[in-house]
């Protein structure tokens, strides 16, 4: 088992002929993901890597392939439209990798995707991977291994760091989910935690948060009140100054809200394991398996 994606996932790649899209489409295909089509307006009728059909629109692609999932690698000005296009075409899981999507765009994308009954992951996220089954996005497949740990994170490379440590210590993952670093994203920690709680394969969850907002605090409350499975947490940005955007659009301490201290306090209150350093995850998770 796993969450959100597995070997029944049939994937479209929006922006498949772009620099990032083509690179990662190949990587996903190599990993074994079922890539059923690509979308690039004006290249409809062509093939990607001589096998994957390209379409002008997502609607055409879905009609022809029956894809249930889409991953988006288009430049920021077009990303909001791409997400809504996928939702309008009936895609049920939309993963937006694009970084730099204006947050006001997301205030319209979010309710639309919801109205269409789709799940959005991202934007500005590394995607997700169910080791051994399917990879959607950019998480390096070779650092992952199948196993019992659900991983959910706001960060990309920090996640790789920790997944890498787990895998090297012989601890595999059920699904690794990057929810993204933007202030408004489609899937939050609670969505992923709820899915892991319901997933029989997952026995422990590792969660990497960062400064900004209250998503981690609400997640901690969810862990405290709704979860039976143990969760280990980490917060990046303890040394970040207030009022500055630390790379991620969402990683900003506003006034006195969204600090690492208050998030760690929430974790403590929820009885979660707390990793002070990335490497601490290995022992904390191992102790809870």
């Amino acid at each position: 088992m796993s969450i959100f994606i597995d070997n029944t996932t049939t994937l479209l790649v929006q922006g498949i002929t772009g620099r990032d899209g083509s690179f990662h489409a190949k990587q996903m295909m190599e990993y074994g993901t079922t890539v059923v089509g690509g979308v690039t307006p004006g290249k409809g009728g062509q093939k990607f890597e001589e096998t994957v059909p390209i379409f002008n629109t997502v609607a055409q692609a879905v009609a022809a392939t029956g894809a249930n999932t889409s991953v988006i690698y288009v430049p920021p000005p077009f990303a909001a439209d791409a997400m809504m296009e996928a939702a309008a075409a009936g895609i049920k899981l939309i993963v937006c990798i694009t970084e730099g999507v204006p947050v006001l765009d997301m205030t319209k994308v979010y309710p639309y995707v919801k109205e269409m009954g789709a799940r959005l992951l991202g934007p500005n996220c590394p995607g997700l991977i169910t080791p051994g089954q399917s990879k959607v996005g950019i998480i390096p497949g070779r650092i992952c291994a199948p196993g019992p740990v659900g991983v959910v994170s706001r960060s990309g490379t920090l996640t790789y760091e920790i997944v890498n440590l787990l895998t090297k210590a012989g601890i595999g993952q059920s699904t690794c989910v990057g929810i993204g670093g933007d202030p408004i994203n489609g899937t939050n920690f609670i969505d992923a935690l709820a899915a892991f709680e319901a997933d029989p394969q997952t026995t422990v969850v590792a969660m990497m948060g960062e400064i900004g907002g209250t998503d981690e605090q609400e997640a901690a409350e969810f862990v405290r009140t709704k979860m039976s499975k143990p969760v280990v947490g980490f917060i990046a940005g303890q040394t970040a100054p207030p009022g500055r955007r630390m790379g991620h659009a969402g990683a900003i301490i506003s006034g006195s809200a969204g600090t690492a201290a208050e998030k760690i306090e929430a974790f403590e209150k929820a009885g979660m394991g707390i990793a002070k350093r990335p490497m601490d995850f290995v022992e904390l998770v191992k102790a809870r398996l």
Binding site: F23, P102, E210, A236, A251
Partner: protein
Amino acid sequence: MNLHEYQAKEILRRHGVPIPDGDIATTPDAAEALAVKYGVPVMVKAQVHVGGRGKAGGVKYCATPAAAKEKATAILGMDIKGLTVLKVLVTVAEDIGSEAYVGIIVDRATKKPVFMVSAAGGIDIEEVAATTPEKIKYHPVDPRYGLRTFEAMEMGFFLYEDVKQARAAAKIMQQLYSAFIESGCSLAEINPLVVTPTGTVVAVDGKMVIDDNELDRLPAIEALRDESSEEASEVEARKANLTFIKLDGNVGCVVNGAGLAMATMDLVKYYGGDPANFLDIGGSSNPEKVVNALRIITADKNVKAILFNIFGGITRTDDVANGIVTATKANPLTVPIVIRLTGTNEEVAMKILTENGFSASSDMDEAVQKAVALATGAAA
């Protein structure tokens, strides 16, 4: 990106918000001339991207043009929290009957633009929120419908009993909302929104923060950027497409990915060091970026050791290695460097570094400890 008060007011004025006349001056004589042009009394207000200008003496009431010249002389060139005042806004001073607060932010929890309004204006809204939260009304706006009149009127009546004032405030809120949306703001506020003794509602101060992600499609807003009010190294980093924030520590950090960059800084602190900066070279691993990153970091004289922490996913670690070699050949380092590389093309990267006299590890924790030791040792 922060706008100056005068820039925000100009945008609000274009959206119809009633704003007292005013203009910018860079010399005391110009300030005096503006006081004559608009008529005294005027306010002379320092234009710097920092809160607490008033307490620092950067905002002055002037009853005569001569006073405007005198106060402008004092304020221009003044240092406020490390920033030099290069411009003042000279603006008609309104008689103030009451002061309210009206602001909009993009709220993460509701995923919508949210209005905050309070009859307790003229002071920091965070202070009101902390001490008398009941004095603030929050109102999320559904961006699919915009701010409708009835919503604006509900807020207008929260601020004012008088229906004319409530209507005037409601109209201003709709104008503020349209300015907020069209300018790509993450925050827009009017503080104070003033009712004059004759009952007119005017915006006496204005603030706007632009979502950096909007700037590419809003060139007219991008053109308002005032680089003279930003940290020089951060301006340089932005031009090199690096995400960089200067801090006060001694360990210069070069990392790929924002989360890993923060975690690296935290680990530096954990082991007793102090990060000199946040620096994310991003996903694409162009050697040129590494060269620029090293130039910016080594320009900071506080930096006593440099730490690279690269987890190669999209980033090719051999590109990073090549960047290090190129940069240090052109400008030999005067401080020690610790390199941690793992992931994509790790073997090639290690070979490049070794051949050029660098050592590197693949363990983050070990590398951070080493960098801290070097920085601390060098500082001792």
